[in-house]
């Protein structure tokens, strides 16, 4: 369903899309476009690295291609995290680096608010293991088939609250820890 939506937006903004692609000629976009020809990719110029949007249904396949392809060889996962865009869903962000080719790529996947599930990148890089565990507990994202879906930094029993979501109040953790810290629960507007 999400991939259909993505196709619709690209068709609607076809003219501006072509202009964006033209201005990316000096980046690694032509190379990435050739490598990922079988995937629906939307490029965007970042401050330093090229940013690509890939639909959720293709993400793991696309990452595997990026790793295995001889021309790019993205063999190093620098960072994996997520960004909460409130009503626009959650973006999972992969920062890839190719040690042999010395090129960087940022890959983004948008997940809708009501269905935050995505495949696991541990199939592609082992490095994703702990990074995905952290992202999962902080944003409430489910990484399907993750080999070790425990919490990483948060307490084991704290699986119903996700601190890095924007809807999570700044002081929620202190409230959960109880009155010992002198928090007045009544005046915090705590509905639970």
């Amino acid at each position: 369903m999400t991939s259909d939506e993505n196709v619709d937006t690209t068709n609607g903004e076809e003219a501006s899309e072509i202009a964006v692609v033209d201005s990316l000629e000096d980046t690694i976009w032509p190379l990435i476009n050739r490598v990922l020809s079988s995937v629906d990719v939307t490029p965007e110029r970042g401050s330093i690295d090229l940013i690509t949007q890939i639909p959720r249904s293709d993400i793991i396949r696309a990452l595997q291609i990026l790793k295995d392809n001889e021309e790019v060889q993205f063999n190093y996962l620098r960072c994996l995290t997520a960004v909460d865009n409130e009503s626009e869903g959650v973006d999972v962000v992969y920062h890839l680096y190719s040690i042999p080719k010395n090129i960087n790529l940022t890959v983004k996947v948008n997940l809708p608010v009501d269905d935050k599930t995505i495949g696991t990148a541990t199939e592609v890089w082992e490095a994703a293991n702990w990074l995905e565990r952290e992202t999962a507990e902080m944003f409430g994202i489910t990484f399907n088939n993750h080999p070790d879906p425990r919490t990483l930094l948060m307490p084991e029993d704290m699986t119903d609250t996700f601190p890095l979501l924007k809807s999570h109040p700044f002081a929620e953790i202190e409230i959960l820890q109880g009155e010992l810290l002198g928090y007045d629960r009544e005046n915090q507007g705590d509905d639970e």
């Binding site: 620098r78 890089w125 930094l153």
Partner: protein
């Protein structure tokens, strides 16, 4: 005499809990070892005891206040941690950092690398079992460096000296002489360590061919810094993607051959020599000039819908800052890519099949800072 147990003789693996409050875990780190006799069969790391939510705190504070939180993530190399953060803010705000500020930053970052590696050498010596001499030597050299940082920033560990755009204030007038003075003692300190440990028979017996990790595994696990280079991968961000003026500096990237504990020690020692050489080259190019941009906005507001991932080579590896701005004076999202977290992931692979006693020195050789792992 070798005693072989009969096939029907049932033995039970022993679970040993190490930490979180254990001097050899370099902070609050807990690991559960499953041992069969003396051999580690499995290792389960538990982290998160020092999680303070630095990322969430930064999202609720002004861009300038974030510097203080970065100090507290990587407290043994605070200058390096601050650097990534201010570079990320500068990249989005399109601030031009004056030349003098850049050179001073480079000098301080390399000095911080030296002090951090001295800390490693001392603590690692203790892990291996040579308590006393190396530890005190390391502390003596580190003290000289920390005194220098104190003269500059007023603080011994949490400097908060870098600002988006430049530096908080000008360095003291005798900065250059003081740095040169400290480098003399640092050089001597490195020689002392070389004499004490590098060819020490007992040290070699403890560290050679222990905790080996191959180059492929190290890359696959996302390791970085000296721990990756010890496996023979010459990846140094100062060389591969130079930031500041590292492209104008002549230095080498030492690499190891075996990827064992000894190589991780030796790579760090060699790296320190390179740092001293980098600092000397920086001092030659240090000119007078401003340390902040002339037109600095009073309130730092970043453009909307921008993001950047800045990576720098901190003493423990790649310290990355992923900064997303949606306008306003606060970051929308700030992610700290911790080098130690990714390096620590490899601990299990390194330790399984090794002796219990070696698990401690393998952990020591990764040189973790738990507050950076947990943030």
């Amino acid at each position: 005499m070798v005693i072989e147990s009969a096939p029907d003789f049932e033995t039970q693996d022993l679970l040993i809990n190490v930490g979180p409050q254990h001097p050899s875990t370099h902070g609050v780190f807990r690991m559960i070892l499953e041992v069969d006799g003396e051999i580690v069969k499995d290792l389960i790391p538990h982290i998160g005891y020092l999680h303070r939510g630095a990322e969430k705190l930064c999202e609720n504070n002004d861009f300038r206040q974030g510097v203080g939180y970065m100090d507290r993530t990587e407290y043994l190399a605070s200058h390096n941690a601050e650097l990534s953060y201010v570079m990320a803010v500068e990249a989005l705000a399109e601030l031009e950092v004056p030349e003098r500020a850049q050179w001073i930053r480079m000098i301080l970052c390399e000095l911080n690398r030296l002090s951090s590696h001295f800390m490693f050498l001392g603590a690692f010596g203790v892990d291996v079992g040579v308590f006393g001499t190396p530890f005190i030597y390391a502390w003596r050299e580190r003290e000289a460096l920390i005194d220098l940082f104190e003269e500059i920033s007023g603080d011994r560990m949490m400097y908060a000296y870098f600002r988006a755009g430049g530096l908080a204030w000008e360095v003291p007038g005798n900065f250059e002489e003081r740095v040169r003075e400290v480098l003399v003692s640092t050089r001597q300190g490195m020689k002392d360590f070389d004499n004490l440990l590098t060819r020490n028979e007992i040290f070699l017996a403890r560290t050679k061919n222990v905790g080996i990790i191959s180059a492929e595994d190290a890359i696959e696990l996302g390791m970085s810094g000296p721990t990756l280079r010890a496996s023979g991968v010459p990846l140094d961000i100062r060389k591969s993607e130079p930031y500041m003026y590292y492209d104008q500096i002549d230095f080498e990237v030492p690499i190891g051959t075996n990827g064992d504990v000894f190589d991780r020690y030796l790579v760090r020692l060699k790296e320190m020599e390179q740092s001293v050489s980098i600092i000397e080259q920086c001092l030659e190019r240090l000119n007078d000039g401003p340390i902040m941009p002339e037109r600095m906005p009073r309130m730092l507001r970043l453009p909307e819908g921008q993001e950047v991932y800045i990576r720098t080579e901190a003493p423990r590896g790649e310290y990355g800052i992923y900064l997303v701005s949606k306008g306003g004076n606060k970051p929308w999202r700030l992610k700290v890519r911790s080098a130690c977290l990714s390096n620590l992931q490899a601990l299990r692979k390194m330790s399984v099949g090794q002796y219990v006693a070696d698990a401690i020195i393998i952990l020591g050789s990764i040189d973790i800072v738990l507050s950076e792992v947990d943030r």
